[in-house]
Each structure stands twice: as structure tokens, then as C-alpha cells.
């Protein structure tokens, strides 16, 4: 399931066409993975590597906020919802309040539509259920290309 602000029909498009262009355009994108689960961080990092991206990975929302506060910029932030210290909802609100206009994609294992909606309202561009797959990342990168 994906929620998105005006989610396009691009989901239904085959990902193979134009994949090479997507990869060549992606090499300059900076990505931040925010997740307290090391297995998820490793999987997402590897998924992104397959698209020619290397990600910075952090364990909680506060570290993500601090990074941006001290000047780090990212084209894409993959934000887990439930994390210790500062969760994804709070971190997303703070990043948007700081003026961060990265593409922020929520990643959650929660099944509740209500909670996913609340996460979206914090300022996400899209929200996916864990784990991310190659198709979902393709979709995200297509949106990133449009944005940039």
C-alpha cells in the first residue's frame, strides 16, 4: 500500500523502461535512511546501492533532525515511524518546520490506516509499508527525478 500526495499513476508503469536513465540521474542524489532496526537499515542501504545510490544511515529521528540542523542536506529521506528517542512523526514535523524540503518517504510496519494518515499529515510525501522493495524504490526515485 502506498499513500502519497497526489500519487501518480506511475506505479502501474513497468520499471524496466528508462531504468538506466534513472540510475544515471540518481548518482548525485543524497539519501538518508532513518531506522532503528539494523536489518532494515542494511536492506534499504543495499536496495539503494542497486540503484547507484549510497545512503547515510542513522538510528532515530533526533539524529536525523540534528544532521539537518547542522547543515546536512538530502534529496531523499526514508523515515521509519516508530523509533526510540524521537519517532518518525515528530522528526518529520521538525524537519518540515526547519524548512527541509527533501522528499520524505515514511516506512512503517504499522497496519493502522489512521496512524499512517497521521504520519502523512506530519509532512511526508509518501508512505510505504515495510519492507521497501525494488518496485517501491523505483517509484520513489521516479518521483525524486520529477522533483529535481
Amino acid at each position: 500500500m502506498v499513500l502519497g500526495k497526489g500519487a501518480s499513476s506511475s506505479l502501474s508503469r513497468k520499471m524496466v523502461d528508462g531504468a538506466e536513465d534513472m540510475v544515471s540521474n540518481c548518482n548525485d542524489f543524497t539519501v538518508l535512511v532513518v531506522d532503528d532496526d539494523p536489518v532494515i537499515r542494511k536492506l534499504h542501504d543495499m536496495h539503494l546501492k542497486k540503484f547507484g545510490l549510497s545512503a547515510q544511515v542513522v538510528e532515530n529521528g533526533k539524529t536525523a533532525v540534528d544532521l539537518c540542523h547542522f547543515g546536512a542536506t538530502f534529496n531523499l529521506i526514508l523515515m521509519d515511524k516508530e523509533m526510540p528517542i524521537m519517532d518518525g512523526v515528530e522528526a518529520t514535523k521538525e524537519l518540515r518546520a526547519m524548512g527541509v524540503n527533501s522528499l520524505i518517504v515514511g516506512v512503517t510496519s504499522r497496519d493502522s490506516q489512521y496512524e499512517t494518515q497521521a504520519f502523512m499529515e506530519a509532512g511526508l510525501d509518501f508512505c510505504f509499508e515495510k519492507p521497501l522493495t525494488a518496485d517501491k524504490i523505483s517509484f520513489i526515485l521516479q518521483e525524486l527525478n520529477k522533483k529535481n
Binding site: 532496526d37 536489518v39 532494515i40 542494511k42 536492506l43 543495499m46 536496495h47 526510540p84 510496519s109 519492507p131
Partner: protein, 150 residues
């Protein structure tokens, strides 16, 4: 060739785990991430998962057996286990985690303990399966290395 036979054996084993519902398609996604540049990726993910799961299970045991159960802490660890087991393809374990989380949110200690036993069984089954896969992956890699460096 031994390597090819082992690869087929691995495929058959993974398929049988699918058929039994121990693994779902998420494991295939993990396997698909492995390539020549990262030939040990599956083994690394399995090792990481099992390490974290051992800690999670131990912590849940501790908190559920405390005189006063800290359900918030239980939920925290169950949430992590659910996420990682789901991502590695352990659908039955992930389902048990979901039920355990529900029982924890209801603050039902008895139900938590009952589901936790089932969750541990699913974890043991999953761990056995993943360890078998890891062993086969290791042997295939060793054979391939020997083949390239006679």
C-alpha cells in the same frame, strides 16, 4: 558439478519453506539483492537478524516475567522483531509478533505469555530454516571460490 547441485538444493529448500509458510516473498527480495559484489549478503542479513532476534526474545522474556510487566518495553521489542522478521520473509513469526503486540497493547499478561510461546516456536523454526540456508550459501560460495582459485 557439486556447486550446481547445491544451488538447486538451496532453491528446492527455499521453495519448500515457502510451501510450508515459513518464508514469504520478502525473503526472495533479500536473496535478489545478493550479487557478485556482495556474495555474502544473505548470510550477513541472516546473521544480523538472528543476533538481534536473540536479544529481542531474551528481553521480552525478562519483561513478561517481571512481577509488574512493563508493556511499553515489551511492545518496543515486539515491534522490532515484527519489522525484522517481516523484512527477512519470516511471515509466520511476523504474524505471531503482530498478535503479541495486540495482546501487549491490551495489557493482557496471560495472553501475552501464551502468544509469546508460539512466537518463540515460530522463531525457532525460522532460525533453523535461515541457518540451513546460510550454511548452504556458505558452501556454495566456498566451492565457487575454490573453482576460481584452483
Amino acid at each position: 558439478m557439486v556447486g550446481t547441485t547445491l544451488s538447486q538444493e538451496l532453491k528446492n529448500y527455499i521453495q519448500s519453506m515457502h510451501d510450508q509458510g515459513v518464508l514469504d516473498h520478502h525473503f526472495d527480495h533479500v536473496k535478489a539483492l545478493q550479487n557478485e559484489e556482495n556474495p555474502q549478503f544473505v548470510m550477513e542479513v541472516i546473521s544480523m537478524f538472528c543476533q538481534d532476534a536473540e536479544i529481542g526474545v531474551a528481553e521480552i522474556t525478562r519483561f513478561l516475567n517481571a512481577p509488574v510487566v512493563d508493556f511499553a518495553k515489551v511492545i518496543n521489542f515486539v515491534h522490532q522483531l515484527k519489522g525484522s522478521s517481516s523484512s527477512i520473509g519470516g511471515q509466520r513469526m511476523a504474524l505471531a509478533c503482530r498478535e503479541l503486540r495486540q495482546a501487549s497493547e491490551n495489557r493482557d499478561k496471560e495472553r501475552c505469555l501464551e502468544i509469546f510461546e508460539r512466537m518463540k516456536q515460530e522463531y525457532n523454526t525460522l532460525r533453523g530454516c535461515l541457518n540451513a540456508i546460510s550454511q548452504m550459501e556458505r558452501t556454495i560460495l566456498e566451492n565457487e571460490t575454490r573453482r576460481r582459485n584452483p
